[in-house]
């Protein structure tokens, strides 16, 4: 007698809900106005021992009426300067920087709407099997009041024209105009390297968001 075939059954994913206006309490309590944990996560992840070129990523997030949103949680996830993620699923033959987790969390400012990430510029990461390497990029994830399910997008670097034009992800976006919504222009301010990544949730300049 042959054994019955293995039929996997799947549990349905727990549905998402908005993070609400008070997301700061749980995830960035200092912004809510109080101290509670000994260790807080932050948007400043380029400690002194981290290898790489220091950069600032900053920007604003606009709603469909063109208004600046001031209560959005911003999280980023990126590779290290060598282009490797600090995670066991990344088997690339590149150096792991044990001082660099690669994950940042911050919120847009209640007064100005500006978010700021202090990090290092990531290296290029291998693409999917058979695809070209991906240009240096930072993965973004947004949650807030009015956002029912977290929004995933990517930021690419404005001074990486050659790598960007070869990037396998940018190139799946048919319209060149829309690719530009993911590319942050570079500038310098008081000796610091700044990439400005404004995000448009809706409207003529709507940022490309991904179903990953």
């Amino acid at each position: 007698m042959t054994p019955p075939p293995f039929i996997p059954s799947y549990l349905p994913e727990t549905p998402s809900q908005t993070a609400g206006p008070y997301v700061h309490i749980g995830l960035i309590p200092e912004q809510a106005g109080f101290e509670i944990f000994e260790n807080n996560f932050s948007g400043d992840i380029a400690g002194p021992d981290v290898v790489g070129q220091r950069i600032i990523i900053e920007g604003r997030i606009f709603d469909g009426a063109g208004h600046v949103t001031k209560d959005v949680l911003v999280e980023t996830w990126q590779a290290n300067a060598a282009g490797r993620y600090n995670h066991p699923a990344d088997m690339q033959n590149k150096t792991i920087d044990h001082n660099f987790r690669g994950w940042a969390r911050t919120g847009t400012d209640f007064a100005t709407g500006l978010y700021t990430i202090r990090t290092i510029k990531p290296g290029s990461v291998a693409g999917r099997k058979g695809r070209k390497a991906m240009a240096p990029h930072v993965n973004f994830w947004l949650a807030s009041r009015g956002i029912n399910i977290g929004l995933a997008t990517r930021m690419y670097f404005g001074d990486e024209e050659a790598a960007n034009s070869d990037d396998p992800v940018l190139n799946i976006i048919e319209q060149p105009e829309r690719r530009k919504t993911l590319i942050a222009p570079r500038s310098e301010r008081d000796g610091a390297l700044v990439y400005t990544f404004d995000i448009y949730l809706q409207g003529d300049r709507e940022t490309v968001f991904f179903d990953v």
């Binding site: 727990t14 809900q17 106005g33 996830w77 995933a152």
Partner: protein
């Protein structure tokens, strides 16, 4: 550790769509152009890893973790459950963060102006790592219901916000847990954003008398399911589970 496979495609029918006018704030914050489908690359199957030494010993006890001159006021409550993935595998050592209003329905937040008083001994947030079995638990105060500016008379049922990471950034999830028997659940505009009633029902934690502490506090059970991983055929057998 073996390399980890890609995730199952997210079943977007289980989740609220971005644009849900019943919840007004979503109207201007919902992308209108369809999301670009992106097959998982290293950027999506990897994600941040947290270690126990980043957490404090009281981080999962909301009754005590902000206690200044006495314990938080209200009905002490245990919430517990398992974090699993779609393949029924435990998601171990993953960060679970929670936040909520106090017993009167007020948040300790500079932007919350509701009339209920702030509880000086209650912060309203906690966090923990799941254990090897994907199990988590925390102790808290049952939150109060409160009104919010959606319709004139919109009220949120008692709820606790959950943020869960999983092992890859594409598993990232923020959701809310509700309490079995709450009469406000059918009237809530946020729950109503979920089109699938059975999916919405899974956000309601069940009263769990077996886990309650006699003469001390009740318990509620809330299991969380993150996206599963695709199993790869390896020598004609499915790898993994």
């Amino acid at each position: 550790m073996t390399p980890q496979a890609e995730f199952h495609q997210r079943d977007r029918d289980l989740h609220p769509p971005a644009h849900t006018p019943v919840y007004k704030t979503s109207v201007l914050r919902s992308p209108r152009i369809p999301l670009w489908s992106l097959q998982n690359s290293l950027s999506e199957v990897t994600g941040p890893i947290f270690s126990p030494d980043e957490l404090g010993p009281l981080d999962n006890d909301l009754v005590l973790n902000y206690a200044k001159q006495g314990e938080a006021i209200g009905e002490q409550t245990i919430v517990h459950g398992y974090v699993l993935d779609g393949n029924s595998q435990p998601v171990s050592n993953t960060l679970v963060e929670v936040w909520q209003a106090n017993a009167g329905g007020r948040y300790r937040h500079r932007n919350d102006t509701y009339i209920a008083p702030i509880d000086p001994n209650f912060g309203g947030c906690g966090r923990m790592l799941t254990d090897e079995r994907g199990y988590y638990f925390f102790r808290t105060i049952k939150p109060g219901a409160y009104p919010f500016r959606n319709r004139i008379n919109s009220w949120r049922p008692a709820h606790i916000h959950f943020s869960v990471f999983g092992t890859g950034f594409a598993q990232r999830l923020i959701t809310q847990m509700y309490f079995e028997g709450d009469l406000l659940i059918p009237h809530d505009s946020i729950i109503a954003t979920i089109p699938d009633k059975s999916a919405a029902d899974r956000l309601t934690a069940r009263l769990d008398l077996n886990a309650s502490r006699p003469l001390e506090c009740l318990a509620y059970r809330f299991d969380i399911v993150l996206r599963g991983r695709r199993q790869t055929l390896f020598e004609n057998k499915l790898q993994g589970s």
